[in-house]
Each structure stands twice: as C-alpha cells, then as structure tokens.
Amino acid sequence: MCHSAEINATYGNFLTMSQNKGVDNAIGFRDDISNSKAIYWNNRFWYHTNNNYNLYSAAYVATYETALYPPITGNYSGLESWVLAGNWQTKLEPARYGN
C-alpha cells in the first residue's frame, strides 16, 4: 500500500504499529506505488518466499525483477522504496506445517 512505511504524524508508522501489536515482520513502502507493478512485485515476493528465500532476499529479488517488468522500462513505480521491519532472515513456511 502507498506510503505504508511512511510516518504519519497522528498514527505513526504501519510497520512499527504492526510490530507493537505482535507481528514479527512487516513490509511497507515509503512512496506511491503503482497498481500493476505492485501486483507483479507481490506475486514475485510470494513466489520467492515459497522457494525458501528469506524475507530480505525475496523482497530484494522481487524488486529487482519489477524493474525488468515494463512499462515503464527501468522504473520501479515506487516499489524500490520497500522497508522491512523485523528479522530479515525469517523464512515463511506454509501454515500446514505449523502446530
């Protein structure tokens, strides 16, 4: 979501607020992000986490691949402004493996 990593004077920051409420890791974006590139980023991010990448690698590679996804060539449409709050080494496992 646009500006989800930006600090709002009244409400603070979505990421830290999420962590304060018990979320282990959160990712947001500082800038405006365009819809089509955000969908692409989202698909690539979950694809990589599903392939056992940690959160940092999944976000980094997804962002990189978003630049290869035109239009606009070489433009991230705001996705490069991703911010991770939490432990970058975290890997996600499907819920079916949990207790």
Binding site: C2, A5, Y69, P70, T73, V83, A85
Partner: protein, 270 residues
C-alpha cells in the same frame, strides 16, 4: 508377438529415445551457452550454477541461473547476461561510508566494464539515490538511460552499490535495437490532455505534471513510441469523513501512444 508388432515396438522405442536425446542435447547446449555467458560476464571460470527458473516480461524471456548467492538473468534470445544480483546480508548494508559521488564512480566503472559500448552511447543518469530499506539495509541506486535525441530508449543500465563496501549488489543492462520512429506526432501538451481525461475528478495544475517521451514495450516484444504521464494528486485531506488526519494519494501513471494519442495504459497508485 507377431513380427509386425515387434517392428512397431522398435520404431516407437527409437523415436522416444531420439526425442529424449534431442531434448537432453538442447538442455545441455542451453546450459553451455549460459555458462559461457556468465563466465564472460564475471571473468571467472568453472562456475557451479543451476537453472532455477524463467522470467517472461514484455522485454523478453530471461533464464535465471543461481550460483551460490549470485543470480544471473540471461536473455534467451541473445544469450547475453542482462541482469545479475549479488546478494549480501543486510548486516553488511548498515553504514554509509561512501559518498554518492564515489558510489556513482564505482557503478559507472562497472557499467563500462559490462555493458557493450556504454561510453559510446548517449546514456544519461536519470536516477541516483540512497535507499533505506530499514532492517533490509541501505543501498545506492543509479539508473542510466540511453537517449536518441530527446527520446528515451528501452536501453537502461541500473546498478546498486553497497554504501559501506562499494561492492556491486545488482546490475541490469538492457540492450535492444530501436525499431520504431523516435519522432512523435502527438505533442507533450496533447499527451497530458489525454492523460487527464483518465482522472476527470482531479484538479491539477498542468505545469506540475511531468511527461516523458520514450520507446516502451507495452506488449510483449513490440516497441511503441509513448508519452508517460505521471499524475500525482498530492495528499487530499478527507475532511468530509471523520478521519480528519487521514490522507490518501490519487492519480497514477498513464502511457499514451505518441503517434495516435491512444491511452495504452492507466496504472493507478494504490
């Protein structure tokens, strides 16, 4: 078993075996081409690498190879490395020791060493920034774009740099021949006019709206001369509802065909 059935069985076996061998040869050749491309790019030999996937975009199809913590994106058509990622731990991306100028020099040298005829083409730096990803570390990002006259081409060089060590973290180097005219029939003002029709409820100052002329791949493998119009309605306060401090952004990116004026893409902010 009758003689005819035996002959059929042998014939089918030969066809299947030949097909499997041909496929294996194809795979083996593909890997050989990729290996050669990566060795040429890295200047290293005997790299242990694995094909981990494909990426299809309008720019083309890329085969993705992984070697340890490095990833290489090879253009399936040209067998050229057009992208590389050298993953480092965010723990090594915490401190900014390099100035932007020094980081840019390192990135530019990498471009000269890895992009064919970088200095001979009209590449212009279109983006240079230090990006803080929070617990995901910090990086410098530089993007150059080739221009023909005042038209941007799809040829970009994008490099990110570790602000602490100066190591290269990622590289993109797109190389395409330009197959369309770079002279538009639609003016910048007309393009902005067409783009604004996509957001009839927004009130914007025309002079604040940027538009860029460039060759883009709107559909797979096809170049189009376009105007990209960036429409940002800066923070509207929603005073009509009780969330008086809540804000949202509106508008989006509109891509206009620079020859016909047709809206090719409307990509909203979300």
């Amino acid at each position: 078993m009758k003689k005819r059935e035996i002959i059929w069985l042998i014939a089918v076996s030969v066809i299947v075996t030949t097909s499997v061998m041909a496929y294996n040869d194809f795979e083996s050749n593909e890997k050989q081409f990729a290996g050669d491309a990566i060795e040429k790019f890295t200047n290293l030999s005997d790299i242990d690498m694995q094909l981990i996937g494909h990426l299809s975009t309008n720019l083309g199809t890329f085969e993705i190879y992984q070697s340890d913590t490095s990833f290489y994106y090879i253009n399936s058509e040209s067998n050229r490395v057009e992208g590389a990622i050298f993953i480092e731990s965010p723990d090594q991306l915490k401190t900014v020791r390099l100035t932007q100028y020094d980081a840019q020099q390192k990135a530019q040298q990498f471009a000269i060493d890895h992009y064919n005829r970088f200095t001979e083409k009209n590449f212009q730096l279109i983006n240079a920034e230090l990006i803080d990803h929070g617990d995901g570390g910090i990086e410098y990002l530089f993007i150059w774009r080739e221009f023909i006259q005042s038209t941007g081409t799809p040829n970009i060089v994008q490099i990110s740099v570790n602000p602490e060590s100066g190591k290269i973290l990622s590289y993109i180097g797109i190389q395409r021949d330009i197959k369309v005219s770079v002279l538009p029939k639609i003016t910048e003002d007309e393009a902005i006019e067409y783009a604004l029709t996509c957001f009839p409820k927004l009130y914007l100052k025309r002079e604040s709206i940027p538009a860029y002329l460039s060759v883009e791949y709107i559909t797979p493998g096809t170049q189009s001369l376009t105007w990209t119009v960036i429409i940002k309605h800066e923070w509207i306060e929603l005073q009509s509802i009780s969330f008086d401090q809540m804000e949202y952004s509106n508008g989006g990116i509109v891509v206009i065909d620079a020859q016909t004026g047709k809206v090719l893409l409307k990509d909203m902010w979300r």
